[in-house]
Amino acid sequence: MADAIEGHGSSLWKDAWIKLSKNRLALFGLAVLIMLILTSLLTPLIAPYGYETQNLDMGATAPSLLHWLGTDIFGRDMLTRIMYGGRVSLMVGFIATAVALVIGILWGAIAGFFGGRLDAVMMRIVDVLYALPFMIFIILLMVVFGRNILLLFLAIGAVEWLTMARIVRSQVMALRNQEFVEAANSLGLSQWTIIRRHIIPNTLGPVIVYTTLTIPSVMLLEAFLSFLGLGIQPPESSWGLLINYGVETMEEFPWLLIFPGIALSLTLFALNFLGDGLRDALDPRTSKD
């Protein structure tokens, strides 16, 4: 608190970090996420086998010293497949979330900042879009325009921005009329300083929290579509697609289903825990204490 009075503005983030570092589940989530990102970036260097490497004579084998997670029916190393699949799954998660973030923040900030009739119209559009069953629309889009990975990013991003727009708008509107913003005004701070020191940091918390929670839901959506065969197409691979293949042969070779399943579930688990932890740490109104 003394920091804030003396003017060291980082106290919000310091507080948040202290809170987060006490939350073991959230730290576990953060650790898993960092490890996943590193693994995905380094996959071409550290994957035990090449992506295209196959051994038809060997076929599916159970986990062994040579192939830690076994091989699939084409004799391809499962660990390698899961690593490459994870790259695609994470990429979809991050890019589609980024698309949603950009549209949502712009839309919400404009509506919240200008208010009035523009706000009413923009938010009405969001309401109408909310009522649409998007899962069905994404499938329709994939059918009409072909199963294209870029389209998948855009379609998922176009679905997920609505909540972000609402969050940003309500934040901006609430902040405009807060006493501390008024106080900053009457102290003679410049508009830019107010935006930089008060508006942005206060909006950033909920945005970061929601972003962390959007990534797993986007990854889930991608896996869902890929599982149905309507998402990522071979030769590309993703966890959803690997699970789809795993189901086909699960009676004889259960590890082909179980390992990609664990990869997906663990990632969703970690991201959700991190999101919950961040919410407790960054969003004072919804935190438990």
Binding site: V128, A131, L132, P133, M135, I136, F137, I139, L140, L141, M142, V143, V144, F145, P216, L220, A223, F224, F227, L228, G229, L230, G240, I243, N244, G246, V247, M250, E251, P254, L257, I258, G261, L264, S265, L268, F269, N272, F273
Partner: protein, 311 residues
């Protein structure tokens, strides 16, 4: 209340109109679709299509006549199944999917509310942590993973339950219902725990406790109604999710319902079927959202007053 219901119902009309328009023109622009000239489909299908869509007329007239048919509840012939109409396929699949969604909802509400209310009665104890950790696992275990795992364990290894079909062998409805319901049970557990915790800290609960009412009576008579409002508000979105989930569950368990038809239509590029089913499912989802909103308002006196105030 009635005026609010009617105004919300009227608001749904432009949304539905938008759904029909967007889907029609999307499908219309599809390369190789039913509306493009170069196609190799059976002559009787072409004939039926031409009758239905007046293909030699300009696009906007095709659109208007399709709109007219849809308003009368006629979705036209299937593009891939000669001699069958979209209406027939929907009528065949709907009862099965409705039954599946109903059982899944029973699982979700039964397990979810029990776990959530139980957890809220003793927060931050084992009775709270265990079900909430279970709920987190349920959320992170998507149906397309849970379903095959259940099949593997209970269907194949233990050989307790049948793993495909719907209503053919006794017990074949159990695994699909659990698969579809589990994720929603997890959400509902979290929602009801949060809602109950909030209500249990209210003054009127303290009054009830002070009167010496038993804990069971306090929960059942006083707290549940308010505490379950978040759950009721979630039912609309949950229903939309259940329909999407039925795509996966019906595919895994080979259940001949709407979801399986939709996925097959997507694969076969059965454009008229997917067009009709999109409109049909959207209508259902919009109606259910409306219903769950109305129910939430009916349960919440504060919201009811707000609405009376605005009207």
């Amino acid at each position: 209340m009635y005026r609010f219901a009617i105004s919300r119902l009227l608001q749904a009309i432009p949304v539905l109109l938008m759904v029909i328009t967007v889907t029609f023109f999307l499908v219309h622009s599809a390369p190789g679709g039913p509306f493009s000239a170069d196609k190799a489909v059976p002559p009787e299908v072409i004939k039926a299509l031409e009758e239905q869509y007046n293909l030699n007329q300009p696009v906007w007239q095709q659109y208007l006549s399709y709109l007219g048919d849809v308003i009368q509840g006629d979705f036209g012939p299937s593009f891939k199944y000669p001699g069958r109409t979209v209406n027939e396929l929907i009528t065949a699949g709907l009862p099965i999917t409705a039954e599946l969604a109903f059982y899944a909802m029973l699982v979700a509400l039964g397990v979810g509310i029990t776990a959530g209310v139980g957890a809220s009665m003793r927060p931050n104890t084992m009775q709270d942590y265990l079900p909430m950790t279970g709920a987190m696992i349920g959320i992170c275990m998507p149906s397309f993973l849970l379903g095959p795992l259940l099949v593997l364990i209970f269907g194949i290894h233990l050989d307790w339950l049948p793993v495909s079909g719907w209503g053919d062998i006794p017990g074949d409805k159990i695994l699909p219902s659990i698969t579809l319901g589990t994720g929603y049970a997890a959400y509902i557990a979290r929602l009801s725990r949060g809602g109950m915790l909030e209500v249990l800290s209210q003054d009127y609960i303290r009054t009830a406790r002070a009167k010496g009412l038993s804990e069971r009576l306090i929960i059942v008579k006083h707290a549940l109604r308010g505490g379950l409002i978040p759950v009721v508000a979630f039912l609309g979105p949950a229903f939309a999710g259940l329909l999407a989930g039925s795509f996966v569950v019906e595919t895994i368990f080979q259940i001949p319902g709407l979801g399986r038809f939709y996925v097959q239509a997507a694969f076969n590029r059965d454009y008229t079927l997917i067009l009709g089913m999109t409109i049909f499912l959207s209508t259902l989802i919009i109606l259910f959202n409306l219903l769950s909103d109305m129910l939430a308002i009916w349960l919440n006196p504060k919201l009811r007053q707000e609405i009376r105030g605005t009207n």
